[in-house]
Each structure stands twice: as C-alpha cells, then as structure tokens.
C-alpha cells in the first residue's frame, strides 16, 4: 500500500498535465481542494445538523426537522443566518491578531489532513502526500491551533476570552505530551513515522477466531494505548469532560466570546475540523486506517465511518459526562495521563524489544 500513487499524481496523469513543477503544483492544488472540500462538507453536516441530531437523540428530543428531509436543509439556513449576521469587533481588539486567529484555528486543522491516508475510492488512492515524517507533521500542525486559540483569547480584549485562552494553553500543554507519547508507542511497532506504513503494518492478521481473521489494528494490539489516546484526544479537541477552555456556564464561551458572524463560523469550523482530524489520526494509528471488509476501492467509506465514529464518541461524552475543574484537569494531565503514557511507552518498548 505504501507504494500506491498519491492523489495529486493520479490526478495529474488523469488530466494529462505535464510532469513539470508547475504541472505537479496545479495537480496538488486541485487534489488539496478536493480533499479540503470533502472535510469541510463533513464539518458542514456535523456542525449545524449531525451535532444537533446526535445530542437530541441522547437527550430525548427531536431537534431540527422543519426544513428539508430530516431537517437537513438547516445546514443551508444556518449558513445563510451565520454569514448574514453583523460582524462585531470589540473596540479594543488587538488587530490583526484578532482577525488572524479564526483562520489559524481552522487552517491548522486543514493542514493535518494533508498526510492522512484516507483509503481508496474507486481508482483513486486518497492521500495528498506521504512524507516519511508524516506522524510528526500531523502532531505539529494540529498544535498550531493552540496558538490560534491564544491569539483569539488575548486579542479579544475580554476577560472571559483571556481566561479561556489561558485555560486552552494549560490544557493543551498538559495533554499534548501524553498524546504524542502514546502515538510514539505505536511507532515502536511500525518502526516508521510514515502514515501509509503505519496503516500497512496493521493489515497483518493478529489472530484467527472461528474463521474470522482479526487484523492487528493497534486498538486490538494495545487497547490501553488506544484508551489513553482517546482520552487525550478529548482534551485536545476540548470536549467534555475537558471542555474547559469554553466552559459555557463558567466563562461564557471562553476564547470565542467576542467572535461573531464569519469569524465565529471559522472558529466553529476549526473546532469540528479538529474533531475530524483527531478521528483521522485515531483511525490511522489505531483502527487500521481505511481498512475494512470489502474491496479496497471502498476504503474511503470505511475511513469516513471511523472518523464519524470518533465524532459520535465526542458528542456522547459531551452529553453524558460532567466537566472537570481546571485544577483537576491539570492534575489528571500531569499526574495521571503523563505517567500512564510513559509507562505505556516503556512497556511497549520492552515488549517490542523482547519479541522482535
């Protein structure tokens, strides 16, 4: 699988662009445009519609059902509503940081999708690039979002925003380390940081039970690491029990308190993109990427199902679990998760060293 052609290359040959730098650039741009729009489409469905429907299902309600089939056209209505609203910018806002922050938040998540192997769809293999340091890259760009949140919180010149930004930094620092360390324990198995390689290793059969072969997805190989990663990911994307940077009942809306209209849409978009990026990382590291029953040409559907599964999980947590306090969060992060993820890393290293 690692040898498969990347999407830009496939597109270039399909369209018939020359194999020059310019041709590659144009093809890459088109490919990125396609992938980006698919992700934006997912976010568009998730934010105004799926989130409401899922939360409603958890809380015994019906939610949007007035416009279109299953209320789906609420997506259009919401888009019009949000974009038509007045853009209110606080008098003392620190510009251009205030204006850049939403772009940084949304953009950092989009960047991450560049190296995610999303599986096959018909003749296409949907992955934009497959650098050898893919995993490092994806963690790196995902953390840029923290910068965006800090900019948003600081530049808004609002005390609630400031508190939210400080909380966001504290939270992300406390949880990024366990996240990366747990990711590293997967690398010990794969011996590679390349995303396609990580997926490929997981295709081997782990055990065969009654004729069914269970693949060696790392969620099965090391469920402990999987659980750790899922929890740290909840903190990364700021969902209950770790929705502390926003904490609507405490600090109004945290760093995004002063954002309205288009800027609000961008920040909101960024948040949902981050949940999907988190899902994509989890799918790649622990759930065998795009693998699933059926031919490889529908792999992208499996990949979609997996990231939506993670999205569902975050919404479930949001509906059912209380929020922890900021000091408790830091304590869980530094005294619990960090220790556990180090233990996980060392144990995995020992096991891999002994077996291999």
């Amino acid at each position: 699988m690692a040898t498969e052609q990347m999407l830009p290359e496939t597109l270039r040959t399909m369209i018939g662009l020359p194999d020059s730098v310019l041709g590659q650039a144009i093809a890459a741009f088109i490919a990125a445009f396609l992938v980006g729009n698919v992700m934006l489409a997912y976010t568009g469905v998730a934010g105004p519609w799926a989130k409401r429907k899922i939360t409603a299902a958890f809380t015994d309600r019906i939610a949007v059902d007035r416009i279109g089939p299953f209320g789906l056209l609420i997506i259009v209505a919401d888009a019009v509503r949000l974009l038509a609203k007045e853009l209110i910018i606080p008098e003392n806002a620190d510009r251009p940081a205030y204006d850049l922050a939403p772009v940084v938040v949304a953009g950092s998540a989009m960047l991450g999708f560049a190296v995610i192997p999303m599986g096959g769809l018909g003749p296409l293999n949907i992955q934009l690039a497959d650098p050898e340091s893919g995993l490092v890259y994806v963690f790196a760009v995902a953390s840029i979002a923290t910068l965006g949140l800090t900019m948003a919180g600081y530049a808004s010149s609002n005390k609630y925003s400031m508190l939210g930004a400080l909380r966001a930094i504290a939270q992300n620092v406390a949880y990024e380390i366990p996240l990366v360390l747990t990711g590293a324990s997967v690398v010990l198995f794969t011996q590679s940081l390349q995303m396609s390689e990580i997926v490929a290793v997981q295709q081997q059969t782990l055990v065969t039970v009654a004729g069914f072969s269970i693949p060696s997805w790392f969620a099965f190989v090391n469920p402990f690491a999987f659980a750790l990663f899922m929890i740290a990911n909840l903190a990364e994307v700021g969902r209950n029990p770790f929705d502390i940077p926003e904490a609507p009942t405490e600090i109004v809306a945290g760093y995004q308190t002063e954002y309205s209209s288009v800027y609000f849409v961008l920040i909101y978009l960024g948040e949902f993109l981050h949940i999907f990026l988190g899902g994509a990382i989890i799918a790649t590291l622990f759930l065998g990427g795009a693998a699933g029953p059926g031919p490889e040409s529908i792999g992208f559907l499996w990949f979609t199902a997996k990231i939506w599964g993670v999205f569902l999980f975050t919404q479930w947590a949001r509906s059912a679990v209380p929020r922890v306090r900021i000091d408790q969060l830091i304590e869980i992060g530094w005294k619990g998760m960090l220790v556990l993820s180090f233990a996980n890393l060392l144990l995995t290293a020992l096991l891999v060293g002994v077996i291999a």
């Binding site: 015994d60 309600r61 609507p248 009942t249 679990v321 306090r325």
Partner: protein, 556 residues
C-alpha cells in the same frame, strides 16, 4: 389550620409565659410589649439597644434564627421588626420591635449578631429609609445608588425623575477597577451570563482562577412586589400574585405562604378536605421545582444541554400536566383562595388519580436513572464533594433555610416543625445531610422528591376515600376582608427554596398597611461569599447553582 395558628402557644411552666421569661431576660432593655399574632412575645426596645437585646435573646434564650427584618413607617415613627425564631423549634417566636424617630431614623444594626441582618437592613434602608448605625456596608441593595427617596416611605415622590443607568452610578469598567500593580482581576459575572439563572450580577475579584472576593449585586428583577401587594385587596387582588414571585413552578407554595398569613390575620378556617388538596398540590409543585433545580445544577456542572437537564425537564413536564389538569394553568396556577382552594379535583376524578399514581409509580425508576447519571458519576463527585462548604453555624447566622440548610445538617423543616396544612397527619421524613457541600445539596433535593411523592400518595389515598357529601373546598369568607386595624402577623411556609414568610400589618381597610415578603432565596444567596471565596471559578458557579435561587424571588 387557623386554629393552630392563632392559638398562642406559650410554654406555660408554672404560670410563667414566654413573654415573662423574655422580659426577665431583657430586664430594663424592654420598654414595652406589643401583640403579634405569631409571636409569643413582642418587645419594644430602644434603637441603641438592638444588639444587646438580640445577643441576649440568642445566647440566653436560644433564639438563633433571625428569620426576617421588617421595616415600616408610621405617622409618628419608623419601626424595624426583628422576627426571631429557634432553629430547633420555629414555633418559638419573638418579635423585637425597634422604633426610630421620624426626624432622624437611626437604629442600631443587628449585623454583629446575625450576619443575615446585613442584607435585610440594607433593604430596609433602601425601601423605607431607616439608617442603621454600625452597619458594615450601608448601601442600597435593590435600587441603584443614585435613586432619590425611599419608595415605601410616606413622603416618597413617585414623580421625581430618577437616573438609573448603571453607567451613571457605577461604571464597572472605570479606571480604579484596573490596578496594574495588583495580582487580582475584577470580573463581572452577569447580569447576563449563562450560569446566573436570571439577572444576577456577581462582582468577582479573581486571583488567577481562584475567587478572592464575591459581591452579589441584586435588584435587576425588582418588581415592587411588596408595594403591589399593599395596593391590592386581600381576597381578590393579592391572591393570584404570589405565583409570580418564585415563578419557576413553585407557584402553589408561594400562594400558600400568603394564604397562611392572611388566614391567620383574618382568622379564617380552612376545611380539612381543602387542606388535603392544598398539601397534595404543594408537594407536586415542590417536585417540579426540585426537578428544575436538579436540571439546572447539572447544566452548571456538566456544560450545556446534557442528558440530565433534558431528562429532568421531561419528568417535570408530567407534573406540569397534572397541575394543569388540577388548576387550569401550567405556571401561574392561581389555585388557592383564602379559606380553601378554587375548585375541586377535575372530573372524572378516577382519571386524575390514575394519572398522578402513574407518575408516582414511574418516579423511583427515574430517580434511579438520575442517580446513575449524576450522583453515581465519579467526575460529578470529584466536582461536588467538598466544594462550596457551608458550615451549619455559618448557615444559621445567615438565616439559611430549606435544602441549603438541611444539607448542612440543620434539621429544620417548617412542614414538620411548624405544622400547617395536612402535613402532621401524614407519614414522611425530613431529609438532612451532613456534607455541607454542593453534593449534599443535590442529594437532599433528590431525596426530598421521594418524600414529596410519599406525601402525595397518602393525600391521594385520602382524597379517593373522602365521603362525597363532605367535600367542602372553601369556607365562608366575607366578600371584603377588613381585618382589625393594627393586627400584625408573620407566618412562613416551607417553600421549595426554604422558609417563605409573609408579614402583614392591617390598617383597618381591605388592603394591607404593610406587606413584607421574606424570601428564602434572598437569605440563601447571602451565603454565596462564604461558600465560594478561596475556591475556583467553577466551584463558584456550582455553588451558585446548588443554592437554587430564583431572581424573581430574590429581588421581589
């Protein structure tokens, strides 16, 4: 009921009445005595001896609950009345009447004796115009600082122009709030904030995430409720109004507070059958109110719209439907009448009983579900256990009542301790918890729902069996009530939030001369500082939620 109420129950020990004992304890301090229908003794003391009197009554005779402070203006004097009770036995009541001169209405503050006097006296100053000497914080409380005149005073000019915008009298953004040298930050929580349950403004000083100082600023929802009542006739115009005080589904409990006071004042009997219906409907209201408290508290701790909020609202809806069948209204019930209730149970009665029984049958399973979701949740426990501590002694000093007091281990429930309605005929328990924290307050409310269900079940049994020819829902009450002039009473019931008391002084007309509402939320909210200073912001929010305040009742 009224028999029990009007009956003066002084402890007669070898011919010594409570009044004698009080007079003996106070010695020369007592100037005179008055007669209040509720109190065993009403003593008049000089305005400079308030603290001595209250200290003596508290420490020597055990009157440890300053329930309410009523201020009023007469033709020739101002007057503050300190309504005192005992937490152990609230039927033991003493009124301390403190007259102040018309020209210079100065009276000693009771704040050093009871912390709760702080806000009560600020209100008395604000609305009536009595100045309290020694008061640590003599500001207005309900009205803006720039308000001209005292609205419940006699010479108040309703037409005088008022400047009321916040910016004119207190700009929260003014420079002295920004101290570059200090490590603290001033933060306005509210009046528009997701967690203030209405328009409450909490001026907070933060040290990082730690709360250094809390100053609740109330009055945004002040609706002149006392004055409204003073301009309404006893029988028809005041009766529908209490529904609007604590407007979140506790309407019938409020109606009862007024009904109890007015029935006591005018000596009105309530038929037994009506008492049972009153008891049943009041407890339905209590369940509805506690469900709301539970849901909104979960909202504060969990984040926005979560399963538990929606579940508790779903179940509250069932009660609203039952109450709608009974009263014809979902929120503003207007069901009580002086001397009974408006009408009998809805026909066919069997259907009503069945509906209510169905609800009661399903309730335990629902509560089980709540316990699974809330109290059994480890993160919830992490958040709520040992946060927002309110020690019993502090709670008493602030006059805390209701679930807030009972969660601090204070065994105080007017339904049992100062019986009214049909409560003393029924089998139920008062719930207390010793945790003194946010978690205990949630537990108390959840268990009280079970107790209320027990009461309702027994009432329904009684109502089902009740002989058809004995179903009197109202006693004979004169069309126009004119209680004898200068009759005074202060009566309280156990509302959803605590002790809801009404003081009425009649002036011989068909409208009260002075109508004072003792709101449980008002006193309970005062404890917020004690509970949250030194804790984190999330705990402040959780504590505020656990107090279960309704601003309509705080601000009145």
């Amino acid at each position: 009921m009224s028999v029990e109420e009007t009956e003066e129950t002084p402890e007669i020990e070898a011919g010594v009445t409570v009044e004698d004992e009080v007079l003996e304890t106070l010695g020369d301090t007592a100037q005179d005595t008055e007669e209040h229908l509720n109190a065993d003794a009403s003593v008049v003391v000089r305005p400079d001896q308030v603290q001595d009197t209250l200290f003596a009554l508290r420490d020597e005779m055990g009157y440890d609950h300053l329930s309410c402070v009523t201020a009023q203006e007469y033709e020739d004097r101002y007057e503050s009345i300190y309504h005192m009770k005992q937490y152990d036995d609230p039927t033991q009541e003493v009124s301390v009447v403190v007259p102040a001169s018309k020209d210079e209405p100065i009276s000693q503050s009771a704040e050093p004796v009871f912390r709760t006097a702080d806000w009560h006296e600020r209100e008395a100053y604000d609305l009536v115009g009595i100045n309290y000497e020694d008061h640590p914080d003599p500001r207005r409380i309900l009205l803006p600082e720039t308000w001209q005149g005292h609205p419940l005073g006699h010479d108040y000019d309703q037409d005088s122009p008022q400047i009321v915008t916040l910016g004119e009298w207190d700009n929260p953004l003014r420079d002295d709030h920004v101290d570059n040298e200090a490590d603290t930050m001033f933060l306005n929580i509210g009046p528009h904030h997701p967690a203030t349950h209405g328009v409450l403004h909490v001026k907070t000083v933060l040290d990082g995430e730690t709360v250094a100082d809390v100053d609740p600023d109330i009055g945004y929802l002040h609706r002149c409720e006392e004055q409204m009542c003073q301009q309404g006739t006893y029988r028809h115009q005041i009766m529908p109004y209490p529904d609007r005080w604590d407007y979140v589904s506790a309407g019938i409990l409020n109606e009862w507070a007024y009904a109890r006071a007015a029935e006591d004042l005018a000596d009105i009997e309530v038929p037994e059958y009506a008492q049972v219906i009153r008891t049943m409907s009041a407890e339905l209201c209590r369940i509805a109110a506690h469900m709301l408290a539970l849901g909104t508290f979960a909202l504060d701790v969990f984040g926005d719209f979560t399963a538990i909020f929606q579940y508790s609202f779903r179940d509250r809806e069932v009660i609203q439907n039952i109450l709608e069948d009974l009263t014809g209204q979902r929120m503003m019930f207007n069901y009580f009448r002086l001397g009974g209730v408006a009408w009998d149970l809805p026909e066919p009665r069997e259907e009503f009983f069945e509906k209510t029984r169905d609800f009661l049958e399903e309730l335990p399973a629902k509560l089980e579900e709540y316990h699974d979701l809330i109290t059994g949740n480890e993160i919830f426990q992490l958040r709520c256990v040992d946060t927002g501590i309110l020690e019993p002694e502090v709670a008493k000093s602030y006059g805390a009542t209701g679930p807030v007091a009972r969660a601090s281990g204070i065994d105080y429930d007017l339904r049992r301790d100062d019986p009214y309605g049909y409560y003393d005929e029924l089998d139920w328990d008062v719930i207390t918890e010793d945790g003194c924290d946010n978690f205990s307050r949630v537990l108390v409310r959840m268990q009280e729902v079970e107790e209320s269900a027990k009461i309702i079940e027994q009432c329904i049994d009684l109502l089902e069996e009740w002989p058809e020819d004995d179903r009197t829902i109202q006693s004979n009450v004169p069309r126009t009530l004119k209680p004898e002039a200068d009759t005074e009473t202060y009566r309280a019931v156990e509302a959803a939030k605590g002790e809801l008391g009404i003081y009425i002084r009649s002036d011989g007309t068909d409208k009260p001369g002075r109508f004072k509402i003792r709101s449980p939320c008002f006193s309970n909210l005062q404890t917020l500082g004690e509970m949250s200073e030194g804790e984190y912001i999330p705990d402040l929010i959780a504590s505020l939620g656990s107090l279960d305040i309704v601003l309509g009742e705080v601000d009145r």
